[in-house]
């Protein structure tokens, strides 16, 4: 029997990963940086989160019976907060590295982004193995804290499950997307950021620090995307590990186009992507080929949206005009 509520709940859980990734990438792209390093950055976010969690677990007192850290002493608040901070730190550092290469060293943005992706995936694979085998039990325990919804959710039936049963990162993803959307459309900083991405020479002439805005937007955007990686491991996989975060990263980049560079649209887009992503699991007896075809749908839809957007020729829906172009003042 197809349970529509639990299906949607799963989809919304999953959508947080795409939403973090795409919100981060939108902020970055609005500054004119095409950061194709998002998959690697999400890996680094996951690695950072696991590393932070492992530090916290190893700081717990040793239990006498198992001679391992006593997991019953875990503080739910710290078990969630520390990985979030370390994920932000790791992913933000990747954003800083990208900006250093693309702004300060004037490297080509496409090459830099792809380098960041391969670098992030490689570093993550190298370091995650010892951590996950040693702290697997701790991660599973911490994941429970990550996935805990509001206590009153179960008393509200389907309504409660649909709106209040998610872990903190799902709500955080939506809040971040809404805030990003408001900053972009309503504030002076948002206006300046969009100007930098549209026409850096004009922004420069208006006294806006183009390089500074690009650095900050890319670092913050990367940090947000990194939380997507953390969500994947701690919420979606319940503290275990799968080497498919980068796939989530590419979907997030596609989602940016799908949402036409608008974080608020990205909230709906991410849910749609998540529905398409998990739908095969809910169709009984689906064959391998059909499953793979269905997994392809999000990318296919993105291509359609891209076609639609370019046919429509509405200027507001186009990518930032100087996306992918480096800006040097001397090059007049």
């Amino acid at each position: 029997m197809f349970d529509i509520v639990s299906f949607l709940v799963q989809a919304i859980r999953l959508s947080a990963i795409f939403l973090f990734g795409s919100t981060g990438e939108i902020l970055t792209e609005k500054s004119g940086h095409l950061n194709l390093g998002i998959p690697g950055i999400m890996c680094m976010g996951a690695l950072g989160g696991c590393y932070g969690e492992s530090l916290y677990i190893s700081s717990l007192p040793v239990s006498a019976s198992t001679s391992a850290p006593d997991l019953t002493l875990m503080n739910p608040f710290l078990a969630v907060l520390i990985p979030i901070l370390t994920a932000i730190l790791f992913a933000g550092a990747m954003g800083a590295l990208y900006s250093f290469l693309a702004v300060t060293l004037r490297a080509n943005q496409n090459v830099t982004g792809l380098t960041i992706t391969t670098f992030g995936i490689g570093v993550t694979k190298f370091f995650i193995a010892p951590i996950k085998s040693q702290y697997q039990a701790g991660f599973s325990q911490a994941s429970i804290f990550f996935r805990t919804g509001f206590p009153f959710a179960s008393s509200l039936g389907d309504f409660g499950s649909l709106f209040f049963s998610y872990g903190c990162l799902v709500y955080l993803a939506i809040i971040v997307a809404v805030v990003a959307s408001l900053i972009l459309s309503k504030t002076r900083v948002g206006l300046h950021l969009r100007a930098v991405g549209e026409n850096p020479a004009t922004a420069d002439a208006a006294g806006i620090n183009v390089g500074g805005y690009r650095y900050v937007a890319t670092i913050i955007g990367s940090a947000i995307a990194g939380l997507g990686g953390l969500t994947f491991v701690m919420d979606w996989l319940s503290g275990s590990w799968e080497y498919s975060i980068d796939g989530m990263g590419w979907l997030s980049v596609a989602l940016v186009i799908f949402a036409m560079w608008k974080p608020n649209l990205s909230i709906l887009g991410s849910i749609l992507f998540a529905i398409l992503y998990i739908l095969p699991n809910y169709i009984p007896g689906i064959g391998f080929a059909a499953r793979e075809l269905m997994n392809m749908v999000p990318y296919f839809v993105t291509v359609l949206v891209l076609l639609f957007v370019s046919f429509q020729k509405k200027r507001e829906n186009q990518p930032p005009a100087s996306l992918g172009l480096s800006y040097f003042r001397e090059a007049r």
């Binding site: 504030t187 969009r194 100007a195 549209e198 922004a203 006294g207 200027r315």
Partner: protein
Amino acid sequence: MEKTVAIELKGITKYFGSVVANEGVDLTVYKGEILAILGENGSGKTTLMNMIAGIYFPDEGHIFVDGEEVLIRSPKDAFRYKIGMVHQHFKLVDLFTAAENIVLGVKDGRRFNMKEVNARVREIAERYGFTIDPKKKVYEMSVSEKQTVEIVKVLYRGADILILDEPTAVLTPQETERLFEVIRHMRDDGKSIIIITHKLHEVLSVSDRVAILRKGRYVGSVETKYATELSLTEMMVGQKVALNIERPDPVRPRPRLMVKNLTCKNKEGVATLSDVSFTAFGGEILGIAGISGCGQKELLESIAGLEYAYPGSSISFVTDEGEEEELVGLSPREIRNMGVALSFVPEDRLGMGLVGSMGMAENMMLKSYASGKTPFVERKQPTELAGKIKEELEVVTPDLKTPVSRLSGGNVQKVLVGREIAEAPAVLMTAYAVRGLDINTSYMIYHLLNEQKKKGVAVIYVGEDLDVLLALSDRILVLCGGKVSGILDGRTATKEQVGLLMTKSEREGKEDTHEQS
């Protein structure tokens, strides 16, 4: 009325490398006046104003605002002293509204609220009589609306001294009149307005005072009411400078290229060339004079097949046998195969003529890529040609593989002209062939052109230095606002004649523009 000084320049000098852009310029601007800065192309008008606006920093000299010496290191600094400049190329974000563009980068400590910004923009517009919709997106605007946004942007920042760099270049006569009206309002409000221009009749109609620059130096200033077009032209072009450029008599001139009723339009649908007709003869150098943007570029490009010529235009090439062949509608390659060579030197030599990251030999291949019978590129001939050019024109380069972008401007030009000449063209077109080159290289280019002329080639030389045009050309075609305003004999024409033709006929052209619009 008592005049108070708004800004004063003393001994301003600016070098670009070894080239002097401005030398010892003294200039005073008063409050509540419209000052026109007049000068030929390359006379240093824009450079001088850029130093007040904080784009460049002067190498020598002092700037005083309200009697106090100031250092203006950036546009931000300029705004602090209430100086604002509207550049020729607008700096606007297309996707933003007028008001968003205006408020961009303003940090006035106020809470950011677009409604208030819109209101303040309307207030400014009302005060000076602008028509502006704060919520209209820039990409939906006409050129004149964009200019209004730029001017309001400067006023919004509280500028008391406004510099407008050739504000009328892109406007229709009606729009120009409206702009002047607004400028007069601003003057009556006590602001100082500086207009950079080379259109004499506009100077006479709008300004209170004219300051003239020639070759980077300040020639003097006159009250507009005492000035006439002739007196201003004389101050602008100066005494004729004798140049020692050879000018052999044309040998057996014969019509080579006949242009009839050539009309081109730009993206906005404004005519860049209208009804241009002339004949270029083999064995002569036809000089083309005109202020920048008067259609020289479009003229050459339409002959080369790079610009769409409107119906009714005709460009016929006369073959050696005397047959006329129509060039309009042919591809650049077909035209080139007929012997029309274009050595086009836009502001950026490496833009259209050569590929900067390739060496000399590979750049030669850009012409011969289509020849050869195998799928493999033919390297031998281009390399030999490159070697020959290097030797004959004394191109200074480590080897033929060095990317041409690493060569100096003069050497790049030698490579370009050398390649075009090697094609043995029947028509050779050069635009700004000596721009930025030193004297020796310039003379070598003149010599090369004369060599071609002796061979019977029809040489079309677009230049900016009137002295050179007068010394080199057999005939001079003067363009003004996309029309031929005159064809003069290069041996008898005077600088004043050319100067007047370059600027004068615009008033007469007014009625024509009405018809077109």
